[in-house]
C-alpha cells in the first residue's frame, strides 16, 4: 500500500493534496460568504422574475436600473434566467409561499394563474398602466372575466415568415407578394424545390406550430378555443390544416417529418441548416434570433391569408405579460415599476424592441429612431400588420398547454410519418381536447 520509499518523489497523493487544498481554499476560504446569510423578505424591496435571452435581459435590466435611480424608484431584486425551468420554479415558489412581487408570464398560463388567484387584480391601476388604451387585439389577454390582471410592455407580430434572401437570389426566384394566400405560399415552395433541382425544400413544417394554426383559424373568424371549455373550431378546419402540410410534405415543398421531428430550436431550423428557404417563427422577434445563427441574409414576411376572402394571416401578440403576485406586500411599488416599463419614454428607449414594439404610438416614435436593419424590419412589419384589421387574441384555457404542444405535435407527426391518416389524427386530437381542456 505504501510503496517503496523514494519510488515516487512526487506522488499522486501529493498532487491530490495540492489540488484538494487549492479547491478547498478557493471554495471555503478564498471567497466572501456569499449565499450564507439568511434571507428575509423586506417591504419596499421588489423581487421581479423574468426570462429572456442575453440582449432581452440586458436591456430590461438597464431599464429597471433606470427606474431604481428615478425619483419614485425603489430597490429591485432582479431574478432572471432562460425559459427552461422558469415555470417549474415559479410554480414551486407560488406553492411554497414565496412568490416574487412581479413575474413574467405568457399566453398558455394567463387564465390558469388568474383563475387560481395567484395574481393581483389591477382594476384600480388600469389607467396608469395604460391598459384601457390597449388595442382590442391584445386587451382580451390582459383582462379576464372583466378584470385587469396583466400589464403589457410591448408586442410583436405572429406568426412571422422568415425568408432566406441569399438562397432565394441564388435560385433566381422573386420574393412573393406580401398579400399572398396559402395557395400562393404552396406555389412558391414548389418553385423553390423545382429551381434548386431538388436540393432544397421550400419551407419548414409548421403543421404543429400554434401561432400559424391560430392565425389560419382567425382568418376564418374562428378561434382556437370557444371560451367555454371547448375548441373554437371544427374537425373540418383541422383536417384542412393537417392536409395542407401533408400535401406540402408529399410534394417535397416542405421538409420531411424526419427533419421536423429532429429540430429542437432556432439552431436546427431548416433555414439555419440550409435545408429550406422559408421558415416560420412564432413571432417577428424570431428574425434577429435566426439571423444571429447564419451568415445568409434573411428577411421577414407576413404569414399568408388562408384564401382571398379570409382575414389577414398575421396578427399581433404581446411579447410579454407581467403580473403582480396576489401575495405581494409591495403592490404600490410593483405597479410603479410596471408603469415605468409600460409607459415611460426612457424605459422604451432603453429597451428598444427587446421586449417587443411598444404599443402606444408615442413610445413607438421614441424607439423608431436609430433602429438597425433587423429591428427596422420587425418594426415595419408590426406597423404594416397593425394598420389593417387584426383579429383579437384570447387567453388559453387550463389544459391548453398540453393540447397545443403534445397533442398537436403528435397529430402532425403521426400523419407525417404515415402512422395515421389526416382523419384519424383529427379524431384523436379532438378526443384529447375533450379530455384535456377544462
Amino acid at each position: 500500500m505504501t510503496g517503496a520509499p523514494g519510488r515516487r518523489p512526487v506522488g499522486r497523493r501529493s498532487v491530490l493534496r495540492l489540488a484538494a487544498g487549492a479547491a478547498g481554499g478557493l471554495a471555503l476560504g478564498g471567497c466572501e460568504p456569499r449565499g450564507l446569510t439568511l434571507s428575509s423578505g423586506s417591504t419596499g424591496t421588489l423581487e421581479m422574475a423574468f426570462w429572456g435571452e442575453g440582449d432581452q435581459n440586458t436591456r430590461l435590466i438597464a431599464a429597471i436600473n433606470l427606474y431604481q435611480k428615478s425619483a419614485d424608484g425603489v430597490p429591485v431584486k432582479m431574478q432572471y434566467s432562460g425559459l427552461q425551468g422558469y415555470y417549474d420554479k415559479l410554480a414551486t415558489r407560488l406553492a411554497g409561499g414565496a412568490p416574487p412581487d412581479i413575474f413574467q408570464i405568457h399566453l398558455p398560463y394567463l387564465l390558469e394563474y388568474a383563475e387560481r388567484g395567484s395574481v393581483h387584480q389591477l382594476d384600480q391601476y388600469a389607467a396608469e398602466l395604460g391598459l384601457p388604451s390597449l388595442p382590442p387585439s391584445v386587451s382580451g389577454t390582459a383582462r379576464i372575466d372583466g378584470h385587469w390582471y396583466f400589464a403589457v410592455v410591448g408586442a410583436a407580430t405572429q406568426p412571422a415568415v422568415v425568408q432566406n434572401r441569399t438562397l432565394l437570389a441564388r435560385l433566381g426566384l422573386d420574393q412573393p407578394d406580401p398579400s399572398w394566400t396559402l395557395d400562393g405560399y404552396e406555389a412558391q415552395m414548389k418553385r423553390v424545390r423545382s429551381a434548386s433541382g431538388g436540393k432544397l425544400y421550400g419551407c419548414a413544417d409548421a403543421g404543429a406550430v400554434i401561432a400559424p394554426l391560430d392565425s389560419y383559424l382567425r382568418g376564418f373568424g374562428k378561434r382556437l378555443f370557444d371560451g367555454h371549455g371547448g375548441l373554437g373550431f371544427g374537425p373540418e378546419q383541422f383536417q384542412e390544416w393537417l392536409g395542407f402540410w401533408d400535401r406540402l410534405r408529399r410534394e417535397q415543398a416542405c421538409v420531411p417529418m424526419e427533419i421536423t421531428a429532429g429540430a429542437t430550436g432556432f439552431q436546427t431550423d431548416p433555414v439555419v441548416t440550409r435545408k429550406a428557404v422559408y421558415s416560420l417563427t412564432a413571432t417577428s422577434r424570431g428574425l434577429p434570433s435566426i439571423q444571429s445563427l447564419t451568415n445568409d441574409r434573411l428577411s421577414l414576411l407576413t404569414f399568408p391569408a388562408a384564401n382571398a376572402t379570409s382575414g389577414p394571416g398575421t396578427n399581433v401578440i404581446p411579447a410579454g405579460w407581467f403580473a403582480i403576485s396576489s401575495k405581494s406586500r409591495n403592490v404600490e411599488e410593483a405597479v410603479g415599476l410596471l408603469r415605468f416599463l409600460a409607459t415611460s419614454a426612457a424605459a422604451a428607449k432603453t429597451m428598444g424592441l427587446a421586449r417587443g414594439v411598444p404599443i402606444s404610438p408615442q413610445l413607438q416614435a421614441v424607439v423608431s429612431r436609430g433602429l438597425d436593419g433587423l429591428d427596422q424590419q420587425v418594426f415595419d412589419n408590426y406597423r404594416t400588420v397593425t394598420a389593417g384589421a387584426v383579429a383579437p387574441l384570447q387567453p388559453f384555457p387550463v389544459g391548453a398547454g398540453e393540447l397545443l404542444t403534445t397533442s398537436l405535435t403528435n397529430a402532425n407527426q403521426t400523419v407525417g410519418f404515415g402512422r395515421a391518416t389526416v382523419q384519424q389524427a383529427t379524431d384523436r386530437f379532438f378526443a384529447e381536447a375533450k379530455r384535456l381542456i377544462t
Binding site: T37, K89, R93, G97, A98, G265, Q267, T273, D296
Partner: protein
C-alpha cells in the same frame, strides 16, 4: 466474426494455408492488433465527437456554429471565452466559485454523515435497525419531485431560500441513501476480526470507526467524493429552484443565461463556458479514476 473466418476455414481450401502462398495478413498478430487499435480509435473518436464539436464550436462565431459544416472553424473567435467569462451581468468566475463551494461542502457533508450512518447500519445493534434501514432504502425510490414543495416550504419558513444552505446542509444529515448503502456494503466486507482486535485494545464504537473502519473505507469514500462532486456540480433543477439572485447562480444556471428557446441565444460564449465547465469534473475524474473502479468493484453495487 468476419475477421476470424479465414483462420477457421478448412486447411485445404484456405488461401492462407496453401503452400507457397503468403500467410493471410489477419494471421499476423501484429496486423490484427493494429486493426483492432484502429477500430477502437475510430470508435473512440465517434464517441468523443460531440465533445470535440463543442470545443471546436467554442472558437466559432455564433453565425457559423450551426450553418457551416465541418469541425474546424473557418474563423477563430477566442473572444467567445472573454465574452462568456464576462457573463450577463455577473462574471462567470462567480458561478465557478459558487459551484465549487457547493460541491466541496456537499462532499464534506456526505463523507462525514454517510460514513457514520453506514457504520451504524453495518456494525452497531440498535432498536428498529432493520426498519430504519428499509426506510432509508425507500427514500432511494422516492422521486425528488414528491418532496420538492414540502422541502421548499420548510426552507422558506427557515428563511433559507435564496441561500446555499438548502443545497449543501442536508448532506450533513445523511440524506443520500445511495452512498450509505454503498458504504454499508463495503463495511460488511471488512473482517469483523479487526473490530474485535480493536475492542480488545480498548476501543469503543467511536474509535473503531475512526481508527479502523474509516481509513479502510477509502475506495468507497473516493467513489462518494467523485459522484457527490459531479452530481452537485451538474445539478440544475434544485439549484434553479432555490437560488434567485444571479450572484448566487452556479455553473449550470449560469450557462442557461446564455440560452433562450424563444429568443436570440449566445451559443459561442455558452459553448466556451461549457468547455471550461468540464475542467473541474474531468480533472477530478481523471485523478481518481483508478480508485473509482476499485470503489465500485469492492462495494458490490456494480451492475
Amino acid at each position: 466474426m468476419a475477421v476470424d473466418a479465414p483462420v477457421r476455414a478448412p486447411a485445404g481450401r484456405s488461401p492462407s494455408s496453401t503452400p507457397g502462398h503468403r500467410p493471410f495478413r489477419w494471421q499476423n498478430p501484429r496486423s490484427r492488433r493494429v486493426a483492432v487499435h484502429v477500430a477502437v480509435i475510430l470508435l473512440a473518436l465517434l464517441m468523443v465527437y460531440p465533445l470535440l464539436w463543442m470545443v471546436a464550436s467554442s472558437f466559432k462565431p455564433t453565425s457559423d456554429i450551426f450553418s457551416e459544416p465541418g469541425l474546424l472553424p473557418h474563423r477563430w473567435v477566442p473572444s467567445n471565452y472573454v465574452e462568456g467569462w464576462r457573463g450577463i451581468g455577473t462574471s462567470f468566475l462567480v458561478f465557478f466559485e459558487n459551484s465549487i463551494f457547493l460541491s466541496v461542502a456537499s462532499v464534506i457533508g456526505n463523507i462525514l454523515s454517510c460514513s457514520l450512518a453506514a457504520y451504524a447500519f453495518a456494525r452497531l445493534e440498535f432498536s428498529f435497525k432493520r426498519t430504519a434501514f428499509a426506510l432509508m432504502l425507500v427514500t432511494l425510490m422516492l422521486p425528488a419531485h414528491v418532496t420538492l414543495i414540502p422541502q421548499y416550504i420548510l426552507f422558506n419558513h427557515l428563511h433559507l431560500v435564496n441561500t446555499f444552505y438548502p443545497l449543501f446542509a442536508p448532506h450533513f444529515f445523511a440524506v443520500d441513501a445511495f452512498f450509505i448503502f454503498l458504504m454499508v456494503q463495503f463495511i460488511r466486507g471488512l473482517p469483523r476480526e479487526l473490530d474485535e482486535a480493536a475492542r480488545l485494545d480498548g476501543c469503543g464504537p467511536g474509535r473503531i470507526f475512526l481508527h479502523i473502519v474509516f481509513p479502510l473505507l477509502r475506495p468507497a469514500l473516493v467513489t462518494t467524493v467523485i459522484f457527490t462532486f459531479i452530481w452537485t456540480y451538474n445539478d440544475f433543477f434544485t439549484q434553479l429552484i432555490y437560488l434567485n439572485d444571479s450572484q448566487l447562480f452556479t455553473v449550470p444556471l449560469g450557462l442557461r443565461l446564455f440560452l433562450d428557446s424563444t429568443g436570440e441565444s449566445s451559443w459561442g460564449p455558452m459553448l466556451a463556458m461549457s468547455t471550461l465547465a468540464l475542467v473541474p469534473a474531468l480533472a477530478l475524474f481523471v485523478t481518481f479514476q483508478r480508485l473509482i473502479v476499485e470503489g465500485i468493484a469492492t462495494t458490490g453495487v456494480k451492475g
